[in-house]
Symmetry: C2
Subunit: 246 residues, 2 copies
């Protein structure tokens, strides 16, 4: 490596550090959005729900800036294959974060509707616990990214099964409430969408962790490949197992 | 412009043409996925549904290749600001297409579950019509992109209101079927998710059109800005108006 290359390399590292700092800041905002949405639902706090919806613009803006910055770095530094992989993975992670933000916003919108209806048992508390689980997963996923800790990322991926389990339990609860009293149907449909949204947040966190494993080891996690195979073939008549993607 | 610059410019144009050809091919596959999923639901054709699910891997793969190719072009050609904007918009469009593909796959998964249950009135036909509308919108969106036709893109954006209207009508139908007979609830919940998925496909097509308008005119479409304002404030007690994003 000659002096010029070394100079470019350290400039790239500095750029990358800047981008990573932005990702962490964005991740913090998204964590807040998840919990804000979940708590506003549990405490029936429409004001908090409104705040979550408004704050989503800041998250969207951050993704936009991150993408522009990443493109600028690629154009300016023409990174090597492995450095390019890092920048692309940051862009993917920011897309995942932005989608978790959108799902939180949507949850907050439904909260505004739900506060005008009768509560459905203690399902709002179950949903808050489920959201809390996802928030902790996200926190660990971001830590795993910064520390390039593939084992922690793999651990988070495995915890997503708990979130799926919580979703399945809630799905059955909503069904019971609807069968019990048809007046519960509208509220249950909203709550069901919220449960599904949280479950999808977990999938996005998993996707962030897959990027971490890929960056650290150069391979996709075992678990993921197994899961990809499962979802395309193992489709019995269990409606609660249908996974939403995207 | 000197000879070297002209040489680089035309190399960029060639690269861009290659990327655009890939986007159109990917768009074609996604159109097929939408209709495959919708037709398999209407005709209760589990074999077709399975094919749609399998074909989604090809769509995912194309997005991956497109992103790599786009990054390679940015690194190699260091495009100017406006050319960079084109490449970034292609990356965004491919993300939208990939998500429409995922939503189609999910629809196909639910079809596999639904063929084992009683049909719910003629809702499967309504869903197929709704999907057909979205497919036509996507076709026009891709045409608008290739021809840099902002007026056509704007037209497609406006047609998304029809899709939203179809969703609202279906939402009320599902509610009626559930109230009528609780044995319809499980099937209706799946069909409701499918309707929501098609409505979200329409949003992704709208997002593609916004890229086209932005690329062509340098501005976001009027309609979009108005809509962004609406969704954050106009939230009455009408549950059917809650929009899912992401």
């Amino acid at each position: 490596m000659n002096d010029t290359e070394r100079h470019i390399a350290s400039a790239f590292d500095r750029d990358l550090e800047g981008i990573q700092a932005q990702i962490m800041k964005m991740g913090g905002l998204v964590e807040q959005a998840i919990m804000g949405a979940a708590v506003s639902l549990e405490t029936r706090d429409d004001e908090l729900a409104t705040k979550v919806r408004e704050n989503d613009r800041a998250i969207d803006k951050m993704e936009e800036l991150l993408n522009e910055e990443a493109a600028r770095v690629i154009a300016l530094r023409a990174p090597t294959a492995s450095d390019l992989r890092i920048v692309l993975s940051v862009m993917r992670m920011s897309a995942n974060l932005e989608r978790i933000g959108d799902l939180s916003k949507n949850m907050a919108k439904r909260t505004t509707v739900l506060v005008q209806m009768q509560p459905i048992g203690s399902t709002a508390s179950s949903l808050r616990r489920m959201a809390r689980e996802v928030e902790l997963m996200l926190k660990d996923a971001l830590d795993a990214y910064i520390q390039r800790d593939a084992a922690l990322a793999q651990d988070v991926i495995e915890r997503d099964a708990d979130v799926d389990q919580m979703y399945n339990t809630l799905f059955r609860e909503f069904l019971t409430f609807m069968l019990e009293d048809p007046r519960n149907i509208t509220a249950c449909m909203h709550l069901h969408f919220i449960a599904k949204n949280i479950e999808r947040m977990g999938d996005h966190v998993t996707s962030i962790c897959e990027q971490v494993v890929f960056l650290t080891t150069g391979q996709l996690p075992e678990e993921t490949r197994a899961k990809l195979d499962n979802t395309s073939t193992d489709m019995g008549p269990r409606p609660d197992l249908v996974k939403d993607e995207g």
